[in-house]
Amino acid sequence: MGADTCSAPQGDATELTMGPAVTADASVTLSERAANHIRNFLAKRGSGLGIKLGVRTSGCSGMAYKLEFADSVDPEDIQFESFGVKVFVDPKSLSYLAGTELDFVREGLNEGFKFNNPNVKNACGCGESFNV
């Protein structure tokens, strides 16, 4: 296990470069499907204000996403709301996440959340870390 399972961005397997790097729209949104799932998860969990999205510097391609339940809000957090679900993003992360839509997808037996982030230039083969 560990970061060594993933090498630096390479060739065609990592052509995940997406969309325009510069966005005027600095918001973060949820797809309806993602919002429905999050609402459901929060209800079953029994607590939580919403979810917190963020970016950390780590991983083989520089950055990694953070996706957590939000039990508390930091004063500087920026709050968005999609389909009635609150999304909190810290200002530093927002510069990397502006224009991102969080989607919930199913791929075979696997299902989970996927960041559609227009700022991404390169991602590692598996897409777990990226750079902008």
């Binding site: 970061a3 999050i38 998860f41 996403y65 957590e68 339940f69």
Partner: protein, 622 residues
């Protein structure tokens, strides 16, 4: 692109460092795998959307295997090579399987654990279970998109060390890292306790395919404590199927059927039982290999009648578990039902009557154990703050060691919460004794011969001292998986000896291989030796009884020549006992039995006369 799951605050993982953990309910009949995703415990289905994997493995001549539904549905075609309910054989010798003769397998007796001969070679129950675990592991890795960090695997609370070790070995063979073994009822309580979070004392009634467990649990502020456990490791839903199967044989006046028909009729019996859960009657039809048609109607009332003794058999352990916990049925706040067999309406009613309340059934009884195991796996893998709750588990059977006279000194009593460490001081009994042999045992009985021997080791190098002067501290330690290590230490010199109790079966791989070889070579001798020993014990018992009877009543009830005849027979048997011919001993035993029959009858008459003497006829109440 990897898909992400929502983590608990502050517990996001670094890329490629997902702590993917699963809970596995390795059941006798069915197995399941569950995991916690986005904070919720869910059972992972296979590609056809089926949550249950039948714990059935079929071996093919080329060494390949089929596992699950496919193997189960074809079981009747290949009963010798389709291993069903392998969990019942885990860590068991052939003598521990009372119904071995009625099963379609070619059992091979091996030290510690029975093996099964298949077209793909001799397989141990550990290997069979590993095949089931491999399928669940693959399912989980596909569903979760990565390699598993580890798994929590559930075992019946009644499993002894050998059975627990066998389960761990099966997981290792399947390439799974075991985070912990967890008692099934405890896992069920986790699934219920966290969802309902109400404090109090609960009973968990778990009637699975092949095992029955009852546990008394105390829930306080999210902390689970197991107060007591009891059960029957050879009672389950399969037995209800067998009752229906036997009924069908009786009804059609058949004594035996071929293996193929047997497997087919057992499957029909199971279907009938499941159908009766929500129907008042079921029609069973089948065609045997002989062309004979089987066509019966089984009503719920008839099924209840067939099942009544099995249902009652589950209530005795309930009573014992309550007694061990020092509680009355009135102290129980709720009863959790686990295991597919608890869907049988008669069982729900009987449990309800026993505990005086309607049992809880709001979680799927087939899934509840796996869901709880997944919740614990998630904590152990580090995806949740561990101080959120703490889980206490218990030692299912007392652990102790042999003392003089073949008696067992218990060091850790049953139902002690684990992990636990207990020490006890022992001393030498002979002057100048320099070594001490330590024999570790498991069980509730007083005599060594009645308990299960787990290990033996020796502490050597004790300085010569007078008897009773040495102080040897023996420490028993049970880890969170319920596995034991024992240390003996002479406190004066500090010399120490230690053993990981590798229960009688859990030996190193080399040892297992060697012992297997030996067992094949000595199989015949072992059987003979056991038979001879049993015959000798019986003969000795008869001699002792005859001698005692002669001493007591011989003079009063026997003529001199009669007495001489009995004595001659005793002498004859006694001299045969010195030899090793089982047939001769048996003959002599029978001769003595016959020769004392008249004497026994006279003694009986005499004692009845004594008992009745001085009583009026109406006082006797006959």
């Amino acid at each position: 692109m990897a898909l992400l799951q929502i983590a608990e605050p502050g517990l996001s993982t670094a890329p490629h460092q997902h702590r993917l953990a699963v809970g596995i309910d390795l059941g006798t009949t069915n197995s399941l795998v569950a995991t916690v995703r986005n904070g919720i415990s869910v059972v992972l289905n296979d590609e056809h959307g089926r949550p249950l994997l039948p714990s059935v493995v079929r071996y093919h001549p080329d060494g390949s295997t089929t596992v699950g539904c496919e193997a189960q549905s074809r079981a009747s075609e290949d009963p010798h090579n389709t291993i069903i309910s392998a969990k019942r054989f885990m860590g068991r010798g052939i003598k521990d399987i009372p119904d071995a003769a009625t099963l379609p397998y070619h059992f091979v007796d091996a030290p510690g654990m029975v093996q099964i001969k298949t077209v793909a070679g001799v397989k141990s129950p550990v290997e069979v279970s590993a095949e089931v675990l491999k399928v669940l592991k693959d399912r989980a890795e596909i569903a979760l998109g990565g390699e598993l960090t580890g798994a929590v695997i559930t075992v019946p609370a009644y499993f002894d060390d050998a059975q627990r070790q066998a389960t761990k070995d099966a997981a290792r063979l399947a390439g799974l890292s075991v985070l912990r073994l967890l008692n099934e009822p405890t896992a069920a309580a986790i699934a219920y306790g966290l969802d309902n979070a109400s404090e109090g004392i609960y009973a968990v009634y778990d009637l699975g395919g092949g095992t029955f467990d009852v546990s008394i649990l105390k829930l306080t502020k999210g902390v689970f404590e197991v107060l007591s456990t009891n059960g029957d490791s050879a009672l389950g839903g399969d037995d209800f199927d067998r009752r229906i199967y036997c009924w069908m044989l009786d009804e059609s006046a058949l004594h035996t059927v071929g293996d193929h028909d047997k497997a087919m009729l057992m499957a029909k019996a199971r279907e009938a039982k499941e159908h009766l859960t929500d129907h008042p009657e079921v029609q069973i039809t089948a065609v045997l290999a002989t062309g004979q048609l089987i066509d019966f109607k089984l009503t719920e009332a008839k099924f209840n009648e067939l099942a009544v003794s099995l249902v009652n058999k589950t209530l005795a352990p309930c009573r014992k578990a309550l007694r061990d916990a020092g509680l009355q049925t009135g102290d129980i706040k709720g009863v959790v039902m686990v295991g597919g067999s608890t869907r049988v309406p008669r069982i729900q009613a009987a449990v309800g009557e026993f505990f005086g309340q309607t049992p809880l059934t709001n979680l799927d009884p087939d899934k509840v154990v796996a869901l709880g195991a997944a919740i614990q796996a998630n904590v152990l893998a580090g995806n949740k703050r561990e101080d959120d709750w703490l889980l206490l588990d218990v030692v299912p059977l007392s652990l102790g060691l042999e003392t003089m006279g073949g008696l067992v000194e218990k060091v850790i009593p049953r139902n002690s919460t684990i992990p636990v460490a207990r020490g006890q001081d022992f001393t030498t009994y002979k002057d100048g004794q320099t070594a001490m042999s330590i024999h570790v045992l498991q069980g509730e009985r007083e005599l060594v011969s009645d308990c299960r021997s787990l290990a033996r080791f020796a502490l050597r190098g004790i300085p010569p001292m007078v008897a009773g002067a040495a102080r040897i501290r023996v420490t028993f330690q049970v880890d969170a998986d319920g596995l034991l290590s024992v240390t003996a230490r002479e406190t004066g010199t500090g010399i120490e000896s230690h053993i990981e109790v590798k229960p009688s079966y859990g030996l190193s791989d080399d040892e297992v291989a060697r012992m297997l070889q030996e067992s094949y070579a000595h199989a015949r001798e072992d059987v003979d030796a056991r038979q001879l020993a049993e015959i000798k014990v019986d003969a000795q018992r008869l001699i002792d009884a005859s001698v005692a009877a002669l001493a007591e009543d011989g003079a009063a009830l026997l003529q001199a020549d009669e007495r001489a005849a009995v004595e001659a027979l005793i002498t004859n048997l006694d001299s045969q006992l010195q030899g090793h011919d089982p047939a001769a001993i048996k003959r002599a035993t029978e001769a003595l039995n016959r020769g004392t029959a008249e004497f026994a009858a006279r003694r009986m008459d005499a004692s009845v006369k004594r008992a009745l003497a001085g009583h009026k006829i109406d006082e006797i109440g006959m």
